[in-house]
C-alpha cells in the first residue's frame, strides 16, 4: 500500500509542530504521536505533509469551504486524515468529485487529536478513491484505551452514509453546541505553559488578554464569544440547555 497520506494540522506527530492552523500553537511541538499516526507508521503508508482548512477547523461552522481548498489538500497525497466536526469538508467534496468518509463516532481514536468540539470530534478520511480511503480507515480505526469514550466491544467502522450524532440538527442548534464546547477547549491556550505568549504585559490578566487577542483569528474569537454567551448563567437555560435538549429528543 504505497499510499501518501497528509494529516490535518490538528493531528499530533511527535517532535513536529502541531499548530491546528493557529498562530497560538506555532511554537507547540507535539510530545507524542497520535494513535492514528502510530497506526499509519506501522504500515508502509507515507505521511507526506500537514495541512489546515482553517484555524482549529472552526471556520467551517460559519461558512462553506471552497473546492480549491480540498484540491490543494490532496495535491500530493491520496488521502487526508482530518476532523470534520462542522461537516464543511464533507459538504465541499460533492462539487469536486472527492469523498469524505465519516466514521461512526468513537470508532477512531482521538488520542493526539487537538480537540475542537469533543462531542463531534472524529478523525475521518478525505480521499479521491473510496477504496483507498476505506483501506486507510481500516488501519486507523479500532479500540484504543487512551481514548476514554471508545468502547472495546465496538469495532464497526462505518461508511459515509453513517452520520455523526447531531449532524442533521438545525444550523443554530449546532452553532450553540459547537461554540460552547469550543470555548471550553480554547481555554487551555492562555500563554502560561506553551504556545504563544504576548511580549509586553503588565500583569496576569493582561498576559491572558494580549496573548489570546494577538494569537487567535477572527473566527476563533467569534466562536469563543458565542460560546461564552450561551453558557453564561443568564443565558444557559435559554440557549445551551434548550439546544442540548433538542438534540437529545432528536
Amino acid at each position: 500500500m504505497p499510499f501518501n497520506v497528509i494529516l490535518e494540522e490538528s493531528i499530533m506527530q511527535k517532535d513536529i509542530p502541531a499548530t491546528a492552523g493557529s498562530k497560538m500553537l506555532e511554537s507547540f511541538i507535539s510530545p507524542i504521536d497520535a494513535t492514528v499516526v502510530t497506526r499509519l507508521k506501522a504500515t508502509d503508508i507515507k505521511i507526506v505533509g500537514r495541512y489546515a482548512f482553517s484555524e482549529f477547523g472552526i471556520s467551517g461552522l460559519f461558512r462553506e469551504y471552497q473546492e480549491k481548498k480540498l484540491t490543494k489538500a490532496l495535491e500530493n497525497a491520496d488521502v487526508m486524515l482530518c476532523n470534520d466536526f462542522t461537516g464543511a469538508i464533507a459538504k465541499a467534496t460533492k462539487s469536486c468529485g472527492m469523498f469524505y468518509i465519516q466514521p461512526k463516532y468513537g470508532t477512531v481514536s482521538r488520542y493526539g487529536l487537538i480537540p475542537s468540539v469533543c462531542s463531534l470530534d472524529q478523525i475521518g478520511v478525505l480521499c479521491k478513491d473510496l477504496d483507498v480511503g476505506q483501506k486507510v480507515l481500516e488501519i486507523i480505526s479500532g479500540y484504543d484505551p487512551k481514548d476514554g469514550i471508545m468502547n472495546p466491544d465496538e469495532n464497526a467502522q462505518a461508511r459515509d452514509e453513517e452520520k455523526p450524532p447531531h449532524s442533521d440538527i438545525q444550523k443554530q442548534i449546532k452553532q450553540i453546541i459547537c461554540c460552547a464546547e469550543f470555548m471550553g477547549n480554547m481555554s487551555r491556550y492562555d500563554g502560561v505553559k506553551y504556545g504563544y505568549r504576548a511580549k509586553d504585559y503588565k500583569d496576569l490578566t493582561e498576559m491572558y488578554t494580549k496573548s489570546r487577542t494577538e494569537a487567535f483569528g477572527e473566527d476563533v474569537k467569534l466562536a469563543i464569544m458565542i460560546g461564552a454567551m450561551v453558557l453564561s448563567s443568564e443565558n444557559y437555560d435559554r440557549y445551551y440547555d434548550k439546544a442540548r435538549k433538542l438534540i437529545i429528543n432528536d
Binding site: P31, I32, Y111, P145, G184, S187, D190, K193, A228
Partner: protein
C-alpha cells in the same frame, strides 16, 4: 450580647482521595514529590489527551457515600467549570455540578454541652458529595519577584462534602471534622492530613437573632487547614458579624474571605469574587458512569472495619480497657499497627501497652505524628513477645523499639549483635548485688531503718552494672532477700 445571637454555619470539606494515580491520567497522585515530578502532557493541559476516568476514584466516592449514609446516584456525569488561573492548566476544572455522586447523607456527632453536662448527639445533614480534580500549586518567590507553578497536584482526585447549614457552634464544626476524618480514614478513602492539605474546608457563616428563621448575610472563609485556626476564625468572624449588626459601623456583604492566622483576622478576597461566572456545562469527553446495586454491594463488602466497630471489638471481644480501645480505635494508623501486630503475638493487652506506652513515647520524642508512624507492626510484636517470654527486659525492649524507629532494625538480630539478652542467672546477679551493697552502705542502712524507697536506687545500680540487661523482677527479689538476710 453574644447570647442574643445564633451562629449558622455550613461546611464544604475537600478531601484528596487515596488513589495511586490522578483522576484523569496515570501520573502518581502521591504527596511530597519534587516539584513537577508527577506530571504528563494530559495533566499539564496539553491538547490531544482525552480524559480517562480513574475507576478507583469513583469507588472511593461510592465508599464516601456509604460511610455518610448518603444516597448514591445511579448515573453520574462530569462537567466543566471554566475559569482562568495559572494553576489550572486546561482552563477548566472537571467537577460534578449537575449530578453529584452522593446526595442527602448525614452523620451524628457528639459534642460536650456547656456546664459539664453529658455529651449530646447532633445530626449534621449532608447536601451532596461530588468528585472533582484538584488544581496545581503556585509558589511565589518574593526575592525573584516571580511565581512558579507546581503541577504535581493538578488532577489529583478530590471529593467535596457539602453540608447543610446545620452548625451552631465551633465545637460542632470541629467534632464534625474529626468524625469525618475517622469515617474517611478507616474506610481508606483519604489520609485526611490537614497539615498536608489532603483535608481542607470552607466555612459558610452567618449570624441571626435567636428565634429568627431567616438567614443573615453569609460570608465564606476559604481553605482552612487546622482545627485550631477554624475555631479562632469562627470566633472572629461571628463576632465581626454581630458587631456589624449591633453598631452598624460596617455593612455586611456576601463575599469570600481569607483567614490570616498570624493576625487572627479575616480579610476580604473581593477582587476574585467580581462577576464570577463559571459557565458550567456537561463534559462530553467523559461518558456517563452507571452505578448499580451490585457494584455498591461489592464495594461495601470489601470495606474495612469502621472505628466504632473496632472499639466495640476491642472492649467486648478482646477485653481491653475502654481507655486503650478509645485511643487505638481513634487513629487509623494505630489501629493498623494493633491489628497487624496482633497477628504475630496474640496478647491484646501486651500489644496495646506497647503501642500506648513505648510507641507513642518514642514517636513523640522523635516528633513523628501518629499518622506517620512507619514501623513494621510485626517488629513491635516480636519485641513484645520477647519481653513477655523473659528473653529481654522491658528497658532493653524499649531500646530495641527505638532502633526499629531509627534504623528499621531487625529486633532479633539487634539483640544478638549487641548481646542484650536478659541476664537472669541468679548466681551472677547475686554477685553483682553484693558488690552494689558494699559500695552503698549508706543506702543499705537507710533501707534497714525503714526507708523502702532506696530500694529503687539500689535496683538502678544493679541495672547499671549489668548494662540494663538484668531481669528487673529477679533483681528486686534477690535484693530484697539479701537485705533482709544480712540484717
Amino acid at each position: 450580647m453574644m447570647s442574643n445571637y445564633e451562629i449558622v454555619m455550613g461546611l464544604e470539606v475537600h478531601v484528596e482521595l487515596a488513589t495511586k494515580s490522578k483522576l484523569f491520567c496515570s501520573c502518581s497522585a502521591a504527596f511530597g514529590a519534587d516539584p513537577n515530578e508527577n506530571i504528563c502532557p494530559a495533566c499539564m493541559g496539553m491538547p490531544g489527551m482525552p480524559a480517562i476516568l480513574n475507576k478507583h476514584a469513583v469507588e472511593l466516592g461510592i465508599t464516601a457515600g456509604l460511610v455518610t449514609n448518603s444516597e448514591i446516584s445511579p448515573v453520574i456525569t462530569f462537567d466543566k467549570k471554566n475559569y482562568f488561573y495559572p494553576d489550572l492548566p486546561t482552563g477548566y476544572q472537571i467537577t460534578q455540578f449537575f449530578s453529584p455522586i452522593c446526595k442527602n447523607g448525614w452523620i451524628d456527632i457528639e459534642t460536650k454541652a456547656e456546664n459539664n453536662t453529658p455529651p449530646s448527639s447532633t445530626r449534621i445533614t449532608i447536601k451532596q458529595i461530588h468528585l472533582e480534580e484538584d488544581a496545581g500549586k503556585l509558589v511565589h518567590d518574593a526575592r525573584a519577584e516571580t511565581t512558579l507553578i507546581d503541577y504535581n497536584r493538578t488532577s489529583v482526585p478530590l471529593i467535596e462534602i457539602v453540608s447543610n447549614p446545620d452548625f451552631r457552634t465551633s465545637d460542632e464544626v470541629t467534632a464534625y471534622l474529626e468524625k469525618l476524618r475517622l469515617l474517611l480514614t478507616f474506610a481508606d478513602i483519604s489520609d485526611c492530613k490537614m497539615q498536608e492539605g489532603s483535608m481542607r474546608c470552607d466555612i459558610n457563616i452567618s449570624v441571626r437573632k435567636k428565634g429568627e428563621t431567616k438567614l443573615g448575610t453569609r460570608t465564606e472563609i476559604k481553605n482552612m487547614n487546622s482545627l485550631k485556626a477554624i475555631t479562632r476564625a469562627i470566633e472572629y468572624e461571628s463576632q465581626r458579624h454581630i458587631d456589624a449588626l449591633e453598631t452598624g459601623t460596617e455593612k455586611l456583604i456576601q463575599e469570600t474571605r481569607r483567614w490570616d492566622d498570624e493576625l487572627g483576622e479575616t480579610f476580604s478576597m473581593r477582587e476574585k469574587e467580581e462577576a464570577e461566572d463559571y459557565r458550567y456545562f456537561p463534559n462530553p469527553e467523559i461518558l456517563p458512569i452507571f452505578i448499580d446495586s451490585m457494584w455498591i454491594a461489592e464495594i461495601s463488602g470489601k470495606m474495612s472495619e469502621p472505628s466504632h466497630e473496632k472499639y466495640d471489638r476491642m472492649v467486648n471481644t478482646l477485653g481491653l480497657p475502654e481507655y486503650d480501645s478509645k485511643i487505638i480505635s481513634s487513629n487509623r494508623r494505630l489501629s493498623q499497627i494493633f491489628d497487624e501486630a496482633l497477628k504475630h503475638f496474640n496478647k491484646p493487652k501486651e500489644i496495646s501497652n506497647w503501642i500506648l506506652g513505648e510507641t507513642l513515647a518514642i514517636s513523640k520524642e522523635l516528633d513523628i505524628k501518629d499518622d506517620d508512624i512507619s514501623i513494621e507492626p510485626k517488629k513491635l510484636a516480636i519485641i513484645a513477645k520477647l519481653v513477655d517470654e523473659g528473653k529481654i527486659n522491658r528497658t532493653v525492649g524499649k531500646k530495641v523499639l527505638y532502633e526499629v524507629f531509627k534504623i528499621n532494625a531487625d529486633p532479633e538480630v539487634y539483640i544478638e549483635t549487641n548481646s542484650l539478652a536478659m541476664v537472669s542467672d541468679t548466681k551472677l546477679l547475686e554477685a553483682v548485688i553484693q558488690e552494689v551493697l558494699s559500695e552503698n552502705e549508706k543506702s543499705v542502712n537507710e533501707y534497714r531503718s525503714g526507708s523502702e524507697k532506696v530500694l529503687g536506687f539500689l535496683v538502678g545500680q544493679v541495672m547499671k552494672k549489668t548494662a540494663g540487661k538484668a531481669d528487673a523482677r529477679l533483681v528486686n527479689k534477690l535484693l530484697h532477700n539479701l537485705l533482709i538476710i544480712n540484717k
